[in-house]
Symmetry: C2
DNA sequence: TATAATTATCATAACCTAATGATCAATACG
DNA sequence: CGTATTGATCATTAGGTTATGATAATTATA
């Protein structure tokens, strides 16, 4: 559902957020990692990742520093960065409030909807809501615990 | 969220289902349309659509007949064809029960989930549920009216 | 059987995403 | 100032999706 590019971006950012546990940094945003480190940690093509990190810097999600001891760090605390902000950089259309019908905008509209129209809008809304309320911190921290590690149900 | 190919497939099938109103055919499945007719009605590239219709025929969703008076017709009543069957032809991974984490399968798992894990599974489940319970008939008929001729529930 | 209508298939191009490799630009530090 | 380290950028390739045009295969009908 997400492009490779977006997936790499999310993984890289989650990795940066997790490295906040590095004792030499007091907060996640102070943690600096080089593109090379991230690329090899995630096993992702280095130059390709570079371009992605650069795009995230342009958007103000990351801050980059060149030269020795340079690298990338989060520009804000992980809990203040909703996933929607990241996804919007690489696939804006997915979050656009615009998408009307599953068959395409021209086929049916709010004014003259097909029977599935409202249902699809509901699905689309729940996707957007997920990205809006989930933050980088959620990707970086481990889930549940108590009931976890054990029986989980798939459908 | 769906590829161009899938969108064309849905539109073409919905068009076929709607033509069930043709007085010369008693049921939608008896309506036969040529690729050319469909392509120009939907303003979609003709040969490209041909390949899509062919794929749908291979899957038993359409039945095709060659030669004069040939064309395509639904192989079953529109209400018996869930959208999942169509989507599965062109993007099976979207409906796969497999997709674990938004960051990719290798990053986090049911056994060692991130905090967003269950939320994402919920979204993914609602997408699959939509495609499973929505049928071609829903795409072909007009929505609402009085109260829509159908109970409206989102999850 | 000949012909026209129609689907099926093939070959190719255009375009986008993903990936690779090489080089340029900035900068900390000796 | 020089040099090593790092991000930024450019050129190119590979592969997938979308699209176009031409040809083959099938079949109803005159």
């Amino acid at each position: 559902m997400l492009s490779q590019t977006t997936e790499y971006a999310l993984r890289a950012l989650a990795h940066l957020a997790r490295e906040g546990t590095d004792p030499s940094a007091r907060t996640a945003e102070e943690t600096i990692l080089q593109a090379e480190e991230i690329a090899s940690a995630l096993d992702v093509p280095r130059n390709y990742l570079s371009k992605i990190l650069h795009a995230l810097s342009r958007e103000g999600i990351l801050a980059s520093t060149r030269g020795p001891r340079g690298g990338f760090r989060l520009a804000a605390p992980a809990r203040d960065i909703p996933l929607s902000r990241i996804v919007k950089v690489f696939e804006p259309q997915l979050l656009a409030d615009e998408q009307r019908c599953i068959m395409g905008r021209t086929v049916c509209s709010d004014d003259d909807p097909c029977s599935a129209h409202e249902h699809w809008k509901g699905v689309s809304r729940s996707v957007r809501a997920f990205f809006a309320r989930t933050t980088l911190e959620d990707l970086a921290t481990r889930g549940d615990g108590p009931t976890g590690g054990g029986g989980e149900n798939d459908e």
